[in-house]
């Protein structure tokens, strides 16, 4: 692993963009579900339900759903962030089990301010279709969340806005909302930076290894035959690719370090490591539901080829592949406590004086009669370094990563 010494040697697009956060009336903090009977076949749904719920509310104007990895950290984020404080914050907890082939899912909504249980709902789903189960759970959650939304709208209509709320309403910029939300990893680094800023003069800290992957882990049993059947029966090649590309990366953000710059007392060198890897088990399982023409596997890669005799590759799909619309690059946002990006690193191919740093680990190549998928094994560790004024670093409380296509990056930069 080569540590990057000179941040100018690779392409770091750092923009000081003040992007205001989008205010939601209700924030749902979704915790991992409880697999009541420790059923290993459906263990993956612990995190799966969280993803489905977060996706379900991605385009909702009034409700935002976030994964809550650790409840104490969630509470701390809410406490430090006026945008969240002005909204209603509810925790969604759930539990599930199977009984005689039927899925039983319990949902609970708890107010994080009063710890009052606002609503509970139990849903039964007899269908073994995963899509149906997701829809049932999302619908049930809507049923317990919607009354709170109506209540919130009614209350807000009767209230005068505080200056802070005005700021967030102004920030609800349509242009910004058009940017597809694809934040795949977020980490609060505010307290770590505060500590580092306090004592960086005395002893610059050694680089710390990121913690082992713990987020979004899917085990082998993540894909039961049921999921495989679901994919086989209902999805074409293209749909399966879209499904995989919705979230193929597992990302881990390391602790930041700060170093003084010898010739510049006003700025510091902020470094942090990000590890990228493909959710290999889940992606493999999904790809292998398709009819494969050929498979090659080496120490560092797996290559699958698919024949046009088995699948119809539409010209639109081939064009999208050729134009790189299935290639994603990381956009690292350093955010303040209000969720505003104070600095961004766009780690993607550009036009001037740059060395591409992140290599996509999921690639599709299109030919007239074949389609090839290339998966890179292992972990891609990247050290990012950037020089920032001390006052800017002091504002940073969170780092989050969005995986974007080159088109989306261009849109982001233009805005």
């Amino acid at each position: 692993m080569i540590r990057v010494k000179d941040f100018l040697r690779f392409f770091l697009f750092v923009s000081m963009i003040m992007v205001t956060a989008v205010r939601a009336d209700i924030n749902l903090w979704v915790m991992s579900f409880d697999n009541l009977h420790s059923d290993s076949e459906i263990k993956w749904l612990k995190e799966g339900f969280v993803d489905f719920i977060v996706d379900h509310y991605a385009d909702n104007d009034y409700v935002r759903a976030y994964r809550s990895e650790k409840l104490d950290e969630t509470l701390s984020v809410i406490k430090r962030n006026p945008a969240y404080q002005n909204a209603r914050n509810y925790v969604v907890s759930g539990a599930y089990h199977r009984d005689k082939g039927e899925f039983i899912v319990d949902l609970q909504l708890t107010d994080l301010k009063t710890w009052e249980t606002l609503a509970k709902k139990q849903v039964h789903e007899k269908s073994s279709d995963l899509e149906q189960l997701i829809m049932t759970v999302n619908k049930a959650l809507d049923e317990i969340v919607d009354p709170r939304v109506k209540e919130s709208i009614k209350t807000n209509a009767g209230e005068e806005k505080t200056p802070e709320q005005e700021v967030f309403d102004v920030g609800k910029d349509k242009n910004l909302e058009d940017i597809r939300e694809m934040t795949v990893a977020t980490k609060d680094i505010g307290s770590a930076l505060d500590k580092l800023l306090a004592d960086f003069q005395e002893k610059p800290e050694q680089y710390r290894e990121p913690e082992p992957f713990s987020q979004n882990q899917f085990s082998q049993d993540a894909f039961t035959d049921r999921v495989r059947d679901f994919v086989r029966e209902t999805h074409s090649f293209e749909q399966t690719m879209n499904f995989i590309l919705n979230d193929p990366y597992e990302i881990n953000i390391g602790e930041p370090t700060i170093q003084r710059l010898p010739m510049n007392s006003q700025s510091v060198l902020l470094s942090f490591r990000i590890d990228y890897r493909i959710k290999m088990e889940i992606v493999r399982e999904m790809i292998e539901t398709l009819k494969i023409k050929g498979k090659k596997e080496g120490e560092t890669y797996i290559e699958y080829s698919f024949s046009g005799n088995d699948y119809l590759f539409t010209s639109d799909f081939i064009k999208r592949v050729a134009y790189g619309q299935y290639r994603y690059f990381p956009v690292v946002s350093l955010k303040d406590e209000n969720g505003n990006a104070v600095s961004r690193i766009i780690d993607a191919p550009g036009t001037i004086d740059q060395i591409k740093h992140f290599n996509p680990m999921f690639n599709i190549a299109a030919g007239p009669w074949t389609m090839t998928i290339y998966l890179v094994k292992g972990v891609q560790e990247i050290d990012y370094e950037l020089t920032l004024p001390i006052r800017t670093v002091a504002k940073i409380s969170q780092v989050s990563i969005d995986m974007m296509t080159e088109d989306e990056i261009v849109q982001l930069v233009e805005k």
């Binding site: 915790m31 650790k70 104490d72 539990a95 609970q108």
Partner: protein, 123 residues
């Protein structure tokens, strides 16, 4: 005023955190354990006012924890918090000294009431 101290034993970190935050809000002090073995170590060395115990855990399940507590003469009110809804299991737990049996997903009001009643009874 001294806070009542509760030991939460569950191999699901999210369940533990949720209960800990709730109980903290309600004025209890909490300690979290993710296994029965660790729970027994704590119980040997620290006094607790109540234990919230899950039944299905790897290595040592909740019933085994209760049996060990009995052998070690540790008498703390134990409230079983579990997804198991088997009457026989509930009876086994009660015969080993559990004072209440709360099914998951947990009704927080019921849990608070149970803690208040059982801690008061002990005192």
């Amino acid at each position: 005023m001294t806070k009542n101290k509760i030991l939460i034993v569950d191999d699901e970190p999210n369940v533990c955190q949720f209960l800990a935050e709730y109980l903290d809000y309600k004025g209890f002090e909490t300690v979290i354990c993710y296994s029965g073995i660790d729970a027994l170590k704590y119980l040997k060395t620290e006094p607790f006012d109540a234990v919230l115990l899950d039944l299905i855990m790897p290595e040592m399940n909740g019933i085994e924890v209760l049996e060990q507590m009995r052998q070690m003469n540790i008498f703390v009110p134990v409230i079983i918090v579990t997804g198991v809804r088997d009457k026989k299991v509930a009876e086994d737990a009660m015969s080993l000294g559990a004072v209440d049996f709360i099914p998951k997903p947990i009704d927080l009001d019921r849990l608070e009431q149970s803690l208040i009643v059982n801690i008061k009874n002990l005192q």
